[in-house]
């Protein structure tokens, strides 16, 4: 029996609901991957091209300018940028895609009783899957080659998981807000650019003025980014504090995003 506004679900039903949610996310993520790579067997490899091209551009344009911060090694700069781009492009792609999903699936939500969180979560899952097939293994290998330290290497997935949680939080919050404020898509265009520029992505953190550098500690993307570089590229003693902060940031962001989504969810259907 399905009942709404009735008694609170008991835990076995809760579990069944979660199972259904997972199944729905899977099929919705597959759907978006299929749309993206329809008709091209090597489609997923294309997702390499964008970050590789950008890494190359940054290296060509800024490589020599920042060389002194990388022991005069262009390869180090290249790896530095590539590792950063691998996660930041994931974050930006997933969030800007997820933002639209509740609204664009409004017709379906008006026809079948579905948990609306399926759609933003599926966007994150699809993008995560794509990165797991392409960029993340490369980051993993880079980490092995650069650090030679099993602790570092094993922490790479942990930090990546933190990044995925952060992305999930943003995806949920943005998708929910977009239902109410349809200009969020433009605002997020600017907002994500600001996150992009204020993260030490293609420049070393040291070149930023002191006042700006304080912001790095509050920019969630920047925190995750620094932590990833710490575990993947750091050769000195591990900065556990940074890794812990990054993990905590991910969990808190995910929780907050989920809370925003859950709080506003009741109002969705009137606006779809």
């Amino acid at each position: 029996m399905t009942s709404t506004a009735a008694a609170r679900p008991t835990s076995p039903r809760r579990f069944a609901e979660l199972q259904r949610l997972a199944g729905l996310i899977q099929i919705a993520a597959l759907r978006s991957l299929k749309v993206r790579y329809r008709g091209s067997a090597v489609g997923i490899l294309w997702s390499f091209s964008n970050p590789l091209l950008m890494t190359l551009m940054y290296t060509v344009v800024f490589g020599t300018a920042f060389l002194q911060y990388f022991d005069h090694s262009i390869v180090r700069y290249l790896v530095y940028v590539f590792v950063g781009l691998s996660v930041v492009t994931f974050f930006l792609n997933a969030t800007s895609e997820a933002l639209l999903t509740v609204v664009t699936n409004g017709a379906l939500l008006n026809k079948i009783a579905l948990p609306p969180a399926v759609f933003p979560l599926a966007s994150v899952a699809a993008n995560l899957f794509q990165q797991l097939c392409t960029m993340f293994p490369v980051v993993f290998i880079i980490s092995i080659v650069v650090t030679h330290d099993p602790v570092h290497v094993l922490l790479v997935p942990v930090v990546l998981a933190g990044f995925a949680l952060l992305t999930t939080g943003f995806a949920l919050a943005l998708a929910a807000l977009y239902v109410f404020f349809r200009d969020i898509s433009y605002i997020w265009g600017v907002g994500s650019f600001m996150l992009w520029m204020t993260s030490p992505l293609f420049y070393p953190a040291q070149v930023a003025p002191e006042r700006v550098r304080v912001w790095f500690h509050f920019n969630p993307v920047g925190i995750e980014l620094s932590a990833l570089r710490e575990v993947a590229l750091g050769t000195g003693p591990l900065d556990w504090g940074l890794v812990g902060t990054a993990a905590l940031t991910g969990i808190v962001a995910c929780f907050l995003g989920g809370a925003i989504f859950a709080q506003t969810r009741r109002g969705f259907m009137d606006l779809l």
Binding site: S3, T4, K111, A113, L114, D183
Partner: protein, 326 residues
Amino acid sequence: MQPAISLSGVTLVRRTQEELHYDLKRSVMNALRFRARKVKRATVITGLDVTIEHGEKVGVIGPNGSGKSTLLKLIAGVLQPTRGSVAVEGSLSPLIEIGVGFEPELTLVDNILFYGVLLGHDEAVVRAHVDSILDFAELTEIREQPTKTLSSGMSARLGFAIATEFRPDILLLDEVLAVGDERFRRKCAARIERFWDAHSTIVLVSHDLSYVVRTCDRVIWLDCGRVRFDGGPVLAVQSYLDTVPTSVDIRSGADLIALAASAPSPIVVRGSSKADDEITIFLVRNGYRWRIAPDGEYRRIAVIWENVLVVSDSVIEQVPEGDVII
């Protein structure tokens, strides 16, 4: 045994449509000027108590905006009641209506799989039904084409085929017979007919009052979100029609054809002159449907109510006012 559907004390308050164009920029500006706009809300459904037993076929009628589709959405669990509770026992069909929400870039087969899983079926089960769905929708040859290549009629056919394939216990139909061309419409009707035989619970929203009377054993007449009448179909439709003062002056066959094309519900004819086009009119008189034949004779036909049908040429005699429904 639990009833199939039971709504108790259901009230639904929704934001009104003018709130749709809402953006952050404006909200912030208003907040800065201490002019926070209060969200406008309207009560769409008021204190609805409805119980529908297993196997009942219920028609829902009423004017536009009376809450008919909203009632279906509440039953489907798409909308949550503001107050009161909705309990449903058994598997539900999706709301069957026009505009289905397919992913345009995916192939028909992929869309069927996606839709089937959303409905709560296992992917393997859905896969086993793909051929039969495509066969019913008559789209087998283009199964691997992207769904965006379908015409709106074709995608409505596909939507209907998917929704009815899995034999839900409870079928929610929203103006479903407005789908597809005449031939496919009959095919849909035939398939729904089988649900009628199969002890499924059916809730049907329709403006086709003749269809409602013919097929339902109970009719709920909604007016402004309240139940105005709940009971036998003939009485329900009659009392509903009494409140609808539709009168049309028909001077030519062309008028009638135009009327037939636009009419959502039966029309009372106050009188008509010699028709100059090919026309057959069905009269309803004394509870029977009569056909005015070309020679002007009345012929009794078994079905009681019917909407306008325009077929062959005929001369329409002067008919007493208010006596005729076509």
